[in-house]
Symmetry: C2
Subunit: 272 residues, 2 copies
Amino acid sequence: MTSKELTQQIFKKKSFLCVGLDTDLDRIPTYLLSEEDPVFSFNKAIIDATHKYCVAYKPNIAFYEAIGVDGWKALKKTVDYLHSEYPEIYTIADAKRGDIGNTSRMYAKAFFEDLGFDSVTVAPYMGKDSVEPFLEFTNKHTILLALTSNEGAYDFQTLQTDNEELYKQVIKTSKGWNNSENLMYVVGATKAEYLADIRKIIPENFLLVPGVGAQGGSLEEVCKYGITKNVGLLVNSSRKIIYASDSSNFAEIAGAKAEALQIQMAQELEKL
Amino acid sequence: MTSKELTQQIFKKKSFLCVGLDTDLDRIPTYLLSEEDPVFSFNKAIIDATHKYCVAYKPNIAFYEAIGVDGWKALKKTVDYLHSEYPEIYTIADAKRGDIGNTSRMYAKAFFEDLGFDSVTVAPYMGKDSVEPFLEFTNKHTILLALTSNEGAYDFQTLQTDNEELYKQVIKTSKGWNNSENLMYVVGATKAEYLADIRKIIPENFLLVPGVGAQGGSLEEVCKYGITKNVGLLVNSSRKIIYASDSSNFAEIAGAKAEALQIQMAQELEKL
């Protein structure tokens, strides 16, 4: 999916919500555990209940890898289900990969070809040749970690380098890489005040913004500093939606949580 | 496995070689492709032929993920085979993971519990709370990217921060994290001249050194600047060993390549 098509979906649905599928066997309703594939059953119910209110889903790959082969199967089934039932939905593999060139190429193949995701999150520490293999894919996005939502972001990302903080250097440098028009960036909602500076460097690119919800970031602040005329935002919420309830109507309640966020987003979009 | 036990194995085998299992269906001998699990068949043959000359194996997780569920199965079979047939061997998941705390905990579970690796490589960009969940595991090592072997390492890792280059800041900061005695560090053989400075910061920790072989690093240089009285080095070679030949005696030739490196390593150990 192109950025333009994503923007169209956002205006159509009046939502720039991404629902994070951090599906954990220890947290899903226990009655699902007797199903053949509890992870997929949970995801399917969540997707069916929330898809009207969001434009993207973001499976967090760690949660699938943690249960081995079964997890990988459930991940594949989830992406296939999204593609077949809701082809208008944008898909993000939250994988935070990055390695030397020939290895990054393999990761790109895994997420773009084998699993068919529209985008994948990538860590910048290993530099240009670790990211460019992802950027080679047409109509796919590479979502580079810039300033993350966690406390540890202050360990290295905000260090002052030659001219400015490391995360700014990462964003500026990445603009010079091949096919950099396929880049999006991760900027945590917990660091909304940094968004104004970031928008000076990348006025147009989409930002994937985690940290609204369980991590405490504010949607209003994110929009104040980060929204563009083409929106340019995907705001993610995971735990606050998918684990809003562990009773038999968990999906319905997740849907209501997603709708509540969508309504706030529609208000923000009206300001444009 | 503890660092002490690893050192004992190194002196016993007169080798600090790690063989990288970057197993790629496009590069293994074509006659293996008709086997039920060609990736595992290749790995098993390589392991049986090289285990006498090395102390560790390092599957590169990207290569397994690139073929989906089948890859994950082959990876699990490979680790299980190592544990059952060669329990003295140290295992490294070259995964370069790292995410917010609750997600890193899931990756740690995937590699340490589900797959049973002795260690996993982790990227430092997201800081303390992205690495500490790996460090909590007893008798497991977390191998932090410091200065990698690729060209892109010069994009950010060697940037001058407040006081010194970023990779040095990463190493120094990580020493203050909980259970930091479980840390090893990745330092590329292509950057051997940096090792002297690194040893001033971490005189004892093991270093995982990729880049000897296909990437052009020199074993002699690595030892000159990086070896300690307890060795403190695991030098990895992947493609130059496992793809030395694509004929039916590929494993035998891989064994000879591994032995040649082991002989050089024995000479370096004699200098201690």
